[in-house]
């Protein structure tokens, strides 16, 4: 048996963003006509790797070979010229144009003067036939279903004779029937020699569809395996397998008083039937994949999203929260995962940022600047914030120090419940540790903390309980020794649990 020629070779691909290395010397060979699955947790480096292949990012070092030849892919059009096409999660289609106009967008076939619509229609028709769909070349995109739009994206890739097709979680938007159609199509493309890189969080699909698997973790290549040689449990273990180190302080004693109780929270098209409670001194974790509704849950509680239903109790009192101002009044605090986009005013200095929400405490008509500076100085000392001076604009602080300022900003509202959304994303290890110890010291004093995180180590190290969300619902609850990465992964991916029985509040039937 001779080795098939690799269509795509990655040799020691590394990538860093502003000094933080996110990919460490990844070397992989992908053979022509195979379906290669790419697995990894959020932040493992999957998207970065694919964006390097498709020309959106530039690698920091290493080499990319296509069909044995070293290539430079400096833009998506370079990738296109090499026969690499990406089907994005968010479709790039123009709603008001027809199928064929979208497929030939930017590369219209022309006659001597005018567009050659006839040729474009004909070619589109051929492609759609190949894909075995009933779509008309003249149908408008805005009239199509999600699955049909995906079909158009695939046709758009094929019109350029793509040899390598990258699919970024293509099934998340599809119903189970549509998934089957897609899988048949992938088999067909494969038979024609097209290579497919397939990202999915759904281990079952990967098992069913892929020939081989790349497993990434923390930017490192963990393994490249034949799918036939690995089961789903091992996939999950390899994705997350890490030893816990000593960054986590001991957990605080949970008190009996319930600090926050949420009943039957629902947000249109996003969340349904969310109920939970957090006690004083408790850390409640929220796990789940991106898009599972964790952030939306926090935003709905804070009055940042319109709730369809849902009752909220703070310290056993029913409260009416119509906007975030109400939430602040009742002692709720929420640190968004998007520190720069939603959290901090980057051209404000430290005191201006820290006092922004609690400004009324410093202002009787006029702002008492001395007092805001004094308070900011206290937080600088408390959290060991590193800044050239109080007057430094937030822009010039490192991610970790920005996060500490963000924390100060919300602690200055004297909250009873602190909701932290990805509190350590983009933060160095040391600051992580400081934040964990701060959470512990605040829970000692009776603060209730909700931690939304994709970092499972963080949830396991901090939380007393973990709720796992999936598709806008709470899929299950894990306590104490049941909180481990496999369990979280199983629930988040919608698999049946293998290990100890769960105190599951809601079990969605997955098959």
């Amino acid at each position: 048996m001779s080795l098939p020629e690799p269509i795509l070779s990655l040799e020691k691909i590394s990538k860093s963003f502003s000094g933080v290395q996110v990919l460490h010397a990844i070397s992989v060979q992908v053979n022509a006509g195979e379906v290669m699955g790419i697995l990894g947790e959020n932040g493992a480096g999957k998207s970065t790797l694919l964006k390097i292949i498709s020309g959106i990012y530039q690698r920091s070092s290493g080499q990319v070979l296509v069909a044995g030849e070293a290539v430079e892919i400096t833009s998506p059009s370079d990738a296109k010229a090499l026969g690499i096409a990406m089907i994005p999660q968010e479709f790039n289609l123009i709603a008001s144009l027809s199928v064929f106009e979208n497929i030939f967008l930017g590369q219209e076939l022309k006659g001597r003067l005018l567009l050659n619509k006839k040729a474009m229609r004909q070619r589109t028709h051929q492609l759609l036939n190949l894909l075995e769909t009933q779509l008309s070349p003249d149908a408008l995109i805005e009239e199509l279903s999600v699955a049909e739009k995906q079909m158009v994206e695939i046709a758009k890739a094929l019109v350029n004779e793509a040899r390598i097709l990258i699919m970024d979680e293509p099934t998340t938007v599809l119903t189970s029937q549509e998934v089957e159609v897609l899988f048949k199509l992938i088999d067909k493309l494969k038979a024609q020699g097209v290579t497919i890189l397939f990202i999915s969080h759904k281990l079952k699909e990967v098992k069913q569809l892929c020939d081989r698997l790349i497993i990434l973790r923390d930017g490192e290549l963990i393994s490249v395996v034949q799918v036939s040689e690995i089961n789903e449990q091992d996939m999950a273990r390899k994705m997350v397998g890490r030893e816990l180190n000593q960054v986590f302080p001991p957990r605080s004693q949970v008190q009996s008083k319930v600090a926050l109780k949420v009943e039957n929270l629902a947000v249109k098209n996003l969340l349904s039937n969310i109920s939970f409670e957090v006690r004083q001194g408790e850390v409640l974790g929220f796990a789940g994949l991106i898009g599972s509704g964790r952030t939306e849950t926090a935003e709905a509680i804070m009055g940042l999203r319109r709730r369809q239903t849902g009752d909220i109790y703070v310290q056993q009192q029913a409260v009416q929260i119509h906007n975030i101002k109400d939430a602040v009044k009742y002692g709720l605090a929420y640190l968004s995962e998007d520190r720069q986009g939603c959290g901090l005013t980057m051209n404000f200095n430290l005191p201006e940022n820290i006092s922004l929400i609690s400004l009324n405490n410093y202002s009787k008509g006029f702002i008492n600047h001395a007092q805001t500076r004094e308070k900011a100085q206290q937080y600088v000392r408390k959290f060991d914030i590193k800044a050239a001076s109080l007057d430094t604009e937030l822009l010039y602080l490192s991610g970790g120090n920005q996060q500490k300022v963000y924390l100060s900003k919300w602690m200055d509202t004297q909250p009873q419940v602190l909701i932290l959304d990805e509190p350590t994303r983009g933060v160095d290890v040391n600051t992580k540790k400081e934040i964990y110890h701060f959470v512990q010291s605040m829970t000692e004093q009776g603060l209730a903390v909700v931690v939304i995180s994709s970092d499972m180590e963080e949830l396991i190290g901090l939380a007393h309980r973990v709720l796992v969300m999936r598709e806008g619902q709470i899929q299950g609850e894990l306590r104490d020794q049941d909180i481990n990465e496999q369990q979280i992964m199983f629930l988040a991916a919608g698999l049946q649990s293998q290990a100890a029985p769960l105190s599951t509040t809601l079990q969605e039937n997955h098959q």
């Binding site: 101002k325 959290g343 005013t345 400004l359 100085q377 590193k386 800044a387 050239a388 007057d391």
Partner: protein, 333 residues
Amino acid sequence: MSEVAKMDTKSNSSSASWVTRLPKFTLSNWAPLVALLVLVVLSAMASEHFLIPRNLTNVLRQVSYTGIIALGMTFVIIAGGIDLSVGSMVALVGVLVIMLLNYMGDGWMAVTVSIAAAMAMGAAFGAVNGLLTTKGKITAFVATLATMSIFRSLTLYISDAGEMVSQNNHYPDIGGGYWMGIPIPVWLFIGLAFVGHIILRHTAFGRHVCAVGSNPKVATYSAINVKRVYFLTFVIVGFTVGLSAVMLSSRLNSVSPGDAGLFYELDAIAAVVIGGTSLAGGKGTLWGTVIGAIILGIINNMLNLMGVSPYLQGTVKGLVILIAVLMQFKRDR
């Protein structure tokens, strides 16, 4: 200063503090003032008439009509908006004020009521712009472009396109009067700049204006009512337009509906931009705007004194705006 010193020992960079602060002061905060001083020196050298007190007070008076509006415009621009309707609004308020004045007859009472009405009308027209942008969710540029057209056309309709002349004998004393040798509109301009500075720098509202302009999403997540802030900035600029309309119409004792306030929006926006306020929003100062307005006024004055064709003055003004914006971009790099 003591807290700065404390922080420095912590971060082990005792010399970094004032060094890092220095360029910030020299470049962004002092550039307009330096430009003004250079311009004054050059003007004094170029024309012996420039430094004559009478010329200077004239320049300042001329500046104050658009300058007052530019103060309000500073709030709008810092909050991330723009108001193109101010010029037409000046004409509309001016015409309505003179109609009210003539209806009420002679005497100081009529003048007082009319001025109060002008401020209220200005604020109300500003509120219309504010509602269009917040409730109507129309971008400020488009909304105020539309009201610019509407206000002008209403002015012409109400006045039947004829010049409106005040019958009140006291009214000209407002815009034409002096106090301590300085024209009243100039006092108002400086006074409002001071009040505006206090509001922007020393009140919660001012802080919110900056936060909204810097990043409305961050402001929303910081429990700031973004729409209310945005709305109020339009009310503020409307209010300043009302005052400017009073100063202008009382100085001339009349309003010509077709010409009054023509291109004031350009002068006001130019003054704000030359004063160092970013059109992207989020930061700016009232003192910068005052300086920006004066720079524009001096340039106009010098071009007149030097006998440059009035048709070329717009070109010079345009170039100055471009230079100011280019310098801002450089600073942001």
